[in-house]
Amino acid sequence: MNSKSIFLFSLFISFFIVGLHSQSPTGKRVLVIVDDLSLQSSHSQYFDLLKEQGYSLEFLAADKANANKIHKYGEWFYDNLILFAPHAEEFAGLDAEKVLEFVDQGGNLIVVGDSELSDAVKTIGSDCNVEFDHAGAFVIDHQDYNRTEGEKHHTLVASSNYVQDKIVVGSKLNSPVLFRGIGMDIQEESPLLFSVLSGSSFSYSHSPSSAIKSLHVAGKKTSLVAALQARNNARVLFSGSLDLFSNSFFSSPVQTKKRFESSGNKEFARAVTLWTFQERGALRATNVTHHLVGESEAPAMYTVKDNIHYSVEIEEWNGKNWIPFESDNVQLEFIMLDPYLRLPLKHNKKGTYSLDFVAPDIYGVFTFQVQFHQKGYSFINLAKQVPVRPYRHTQFERFIPSAFPYYASAFSMLFGLFVFSWAFLYSAEDKPRSS
């Protein structure tokens, strides 16, 4: 086989692989676990949205143990899991721990709570540092509530405080999102978590019927929908409201201080679900290479002051294909205990990020590190250790100018000694004159 046919063959193989995976970075199989199978009709618009995107949905009732259909011999039969079962203690035979194991093995998850919610849902939340309020609580907002329904407790909240990131919520969202359900408190210092939809400054979470003594969470901290991107890039979406995804909320008009013909729920639900299922903001880094400038193979060891070339291809999933990702914020660090270099990687608009740099004059085991953590995007963590050695004994400069005086002195002394010896040996002493 000559090189051309190898090339064609590998091209074919790569098309084949791309073809297999052109569906989605993680997969299109979705399992929906519901409290009540009637949800299929009450939330049908939402499920239809997903089917339009090419997802295959299967429904299971939460109260029927059916774990073998979901997970067997360490293999999961679904790529994404939607838990529309806020009241269930077990999800078709899976407990909270098992659900989180699904996430740890790369599956994406949507967890929905409600005013009344089970301990299992709370456990999933608290394991991810998302604390649901006590059962029976609602998010209440006496300012931004939907006035079309004459409901006195103002629990039907219309919030426009969604995260300003079009990767997560899309760019088409222009009307408030209706929400009725429980509030969440998220641990803000966690690097994995962020709030997708929050309450207004006037919102709080409490049971509407009892007197307020203390508040679980209030104001802008009140998280209505929160997202977590685990370290393995699996994504988890927490929503405090099941109704947010319902047909009635999708089509309901909104009347706050302004009037909107329809709520933003449909667009919001679509966007965040697609984000959670990694249709948006999914990145992958491939072809990490490093070598000396002008060579193509990585050496076993670099030497100090080497010219090193580092490159990585970063691609983004656009819903159909992996396309080149463009960003000016990708940095390369060259670390040994401390970062000796931290330089932005240049990209060529084709997804290849590369940089030529000179290794510092320090020996040790250095780490090439690329850490790209931008909200909404998959984490990129690349680390590769390479030894950087000092010069070999033959690599030092041989004849340095500052040594010339020493060479001169050595040779002049050799010469001087020779002349002296010659003079000493061959000059006859004057014989004392005999009288």
């Binding site: 394991d127 210092e189 966690s190 994995l192 685990a230 370290r231 205990l337 020996y363 780490t367 250790q385």
Partner: protein, 706 residues
């Protein structure tokens, strides 16, 4: 038959035969007395440093000399790495590799490990031979034989040269004595040939051991003593000038020494003496040409201006940093309390502690008594310069006196320098014995009738017999003592431990090798193992993994980082360990077996060394009322440190002794104070059969929770 008897007919030839026989016996005995450990255990490398030497020798044999010279070892001192070629004295490895290559060239297929194991005993035999030569030069053949016999078995030297103890000192004592023997010979003869040999021996010594500093300071000291005592001679001038110039040039060829040989303070004495000798010779020459009066004037002016010039230039060189200040270990030599106060890393090594009287006796036995006696005889035999019967042996004796007195001082300061004292005490001891014997055998040699007449005091013959018998007894006791010490104290490989059970049978603890083997077989090839520095060499040689710190304690702050991780709480330690990319942590724990030199007993050193770079770590915090305790009364910081937790994880449920509560520590003899704790960020992955080594894995960051 006739021819054979005729060959040995003359007394001189018989004496030669006897001498060769005795030396051959000494050669064999010096070798075989060091084989206890091989016979009892197996042909295995001992202790810690020898494992590094073994590993580097393997590298040298496999990769060749130039790759060895340029070896950058990325698997030690992660992530700093170590330039092995430039930070070792390569003499030992070169010697072993040369032996290996020569033997294999002759198709004697011995593997490199056995060469390494047996190298030190073989060099001990050679040392005995060179001691014979040296003592012969100082006194006579009889003394030489006696000194060779003494050094063949002296425990102070055996301790560093048993089979398996593959360390620099094993060959360095040979090269040290070789240098001194050549030096004495060159001073006695004043020949360029012998001083050339002395420089070559010195070069070998420099390549083998950092202790060459002793030579390069002792020889100038000796020259100075000779000058002061008015024994300057052209022999001395030739010997020293050749030795210093060529020796220094040669020593600079060793990468590790390099420009230190002309820049560091330790070498300045030799340089100064070189200059002084030139001035002295010059003044002698001037004196021969000037009248006494003008010479005196010349002398005062010249010397005063010279001293002023020297003082100024030395101060300037030190101030600008051209001459480096003395290193910590060197200060420790001059002031034994220096390390304790300033450098915990040096003080933590047991070898660097001052010597006790007991260990003097233990290591030298009768030589302790014979040493002063021998010195007395050396002084007594000093003859005047003009004495022609002298044969220049007085110069040699003065050298032995200098060597003896300085090494006694050094041996008193640092335990491990006992090694330097042992050979010279054998020589001086031999001088004492042979001088005594000469005195008392003389009357016995005469035939009976003569003897009666010539007795200088009554019962001279009987007294002589008694003295000779007493000396013989002493020597016999010495032999027994040496064999006993060698067998009991110095032949344990320390990598395999043995204990006697109640029924007398031996129990072998092979936990170290078990653990290192486990690491080798079960962890990723690039895994990084954190441990206290003592075990670094062994992990890299036997476990074959990257380590953070090892026995080459050149970077105090890096060791302090490891100490800090061990001394911190788990939450703080995990940050340090993650930043250093640690995958596994290895600790030694003796609580179950009663093995006393485990990590808990070394723990205070970790705290001290960590505290020397990070003032937040304070030793007092680990004490409860001034006591280091691990029971319920221990300080909470101690009981929650990572080291405590790793040592005593799951230990609280374990019954170790009858009638004791669970969690009874058999080293400290207490019940541990904190039994109920969890490990969040690390997990136990392996514990050896007798719990001597425990290995923990650093967990990854949790996937979904922060």
């Amino acid at each position: 038959m006739d021819t054979i008897t005729s060959v040995f007919s003359s007394e001189r030839k018989q004496e030669l035969l006897l001498r060769i026989l005795i030396l051959a016996l000494i050669y064999v005995i010096a070798f075989s007395t060091r084989l206890y450990s091989v016979l009892r255990y197996e042909s295995v490398i001992h202790e810690f440093d020898p494992y590094f030497n073994f590993r580097t020798t393997q590298y040298l044999v496999n990769e060749g000399f130039y790759n060895f010279l340029n070896w950058f070892d990325e698997a030690s001192w992660y992530p700093l790495g170590r330039i092995v070629g430039g930070t070792v004295y390569p003499g030992l490895m070169m010697t072993a590799a040369a032996v290996y290559w020569v033997l294999n060239f002759f198709n004697i297929t011995i593997n490199i490990r056995n060469v390494c194991v047996l190298l030190a005993p073989w060099f001990a035999s050679n040392t005995a031979m060179i001691t014979y030569f040296l003592s012969k030069e100082v006194k006579n053949t009889g003394t030489g034989l006696l000194a060779a016999a003494l050094i063949a078995i002296v425990p102070g030297y055996v301790s560093r040269s048993v089979a398996g103890s593959y360390d620099n000192e094993g060959i360095a004592i040979f090269t040290l004595l070789l240098t001194y023997a050549m030096w004495i010979k060159s001073v006695k003869t004043g020949s360029l040939f012998w001083s050339g040999l002395a420089t070559l021996a010195y070069f070998y010594m420099v390549s083998a051991w950092g202790g060459y500093i002793f030579i390069i300071n002792l020889i100038p000291l000796y020259v100075f003593v000779l000058l002061v005592s008015g024994r300057y001679s052209s022999r001395l001038y030739i010997a020293y000038c050749t030795f210093y110039t060529i020796g220094t040039l040669l020593s600079m060829q060793i990468t590790f020494v390099g420009f230190q040989a002309v820049q560091s303070s330790e070498h300045m004495a030799a340089f100064g003496m070189f200059g002084l000798l030139q001035i002295y010779a010059f003044l002698n020459w001037v004196k021969a040409h000037l009248s006494a009066e003008s010479y005196n004037r010349f002398f005062t002016v010249g010397i005063a201006s010279l001293l002023a010039f020297l003082a100024v230039s030395f101060t300037a060189a030190t101030a600008t940093g051209y001459i480096s200040p003395w290193t910590g270990r060197f200060y420790t030599l001059l002031d034994p309390t220096y390390a304790k106060e300033n450098i915990p890393i040096i003080a933590s090594v047991s070898e660097h502690q001052p010597t006790t009287w007991a260990s003097f006796f233990f290591d030298l036995h009768i030589l302790v008594i014979l040493f002063p006696a021998g010195l007395y005889f050396c002084f007594r035999d000093i003859k005047d310069v003009s004495d022609l019967r002298d044969d220049n042996r007085t110069d040699a004796k003065i050298f032995i006196i200098c060597y003896g007195i300085t090494s006694v001082y050094f041996a008193g300061v640092m335990v491990r320098l006992m090694l330097v004292l042992a050979p010279v005490s054998c020589v001086i001891g031999a001088i004492a014995i042979s001088s005594t014997l000469e005195t008392y055998l003389k009357p016995l040699k005469q035939n009976t009738t003569d003897r009666k007449n010539k007795e200088s005091y009554p019962l001279q013959a009987e007294v002589s017999y008694a003295v000779v018998a007493a000396l013989a007894c002493l020597l016999v006791f010495y032999t027994f003592h040496c064999s006993w010490v060698t067998s009991e104290a110095y032949s344990s490989p320390s990598i395999v431990l043995a204990a006697n059970q109640h029924d007398g049978s031996r129990l072998i603890f092979d936990d170290f090798r078990e653990a290192y083997r486990w690491i080798d077989m079960n962890t990723a090839e690039n895994a990084r193992v954190m441990s206290w520095w003592d075990y670094g060499y062994q992990i890299s040689a036997m476990g074959n993994r990257t380590i953070l710190v090892d026995n080459n304690t050149w970077n105090n702050s890096h060791i302090a980082q490891v100490g800090k991780a061990m001394a911190s709480t788990e939450e703080n330690a995990i940050k340090i360990m993650r930043s250093l990319h640690v995958d596994y942590v290895l600790i030694l724990f003796g609580g179950l077996t009663g093995y006393a030199s485990d990590d808990i007993n070394k723990f205070l050193w970790m705290v001290r060394i960590a505290g020397s770079t990070d003032p937040n770590i304070k030793e007092e915090q680990y004490f409860a009322n001034g006591e280091f305790r691990i029971d319920a009364g221990g300080s909470p910081i101690m009981l929650n440190s990572l080291m405590y937790k790793m040592c005593f994880w799951r230990f609280g449920d374990l019954y170790t002794e009858h009638n004791r509560p669970p969690g009874w520590d058999r080293v400290r003899n207490v019940e541990i104070g904190n039994k109920d704790f969890t490990l969040d960020h690390i997990e136990e992955v392996y514990t050896t059969q007798h719990w001597l080594v425990r290995i923990y894995k650093v967990k990854d960051l949790p996937n979904h929770s922060a």
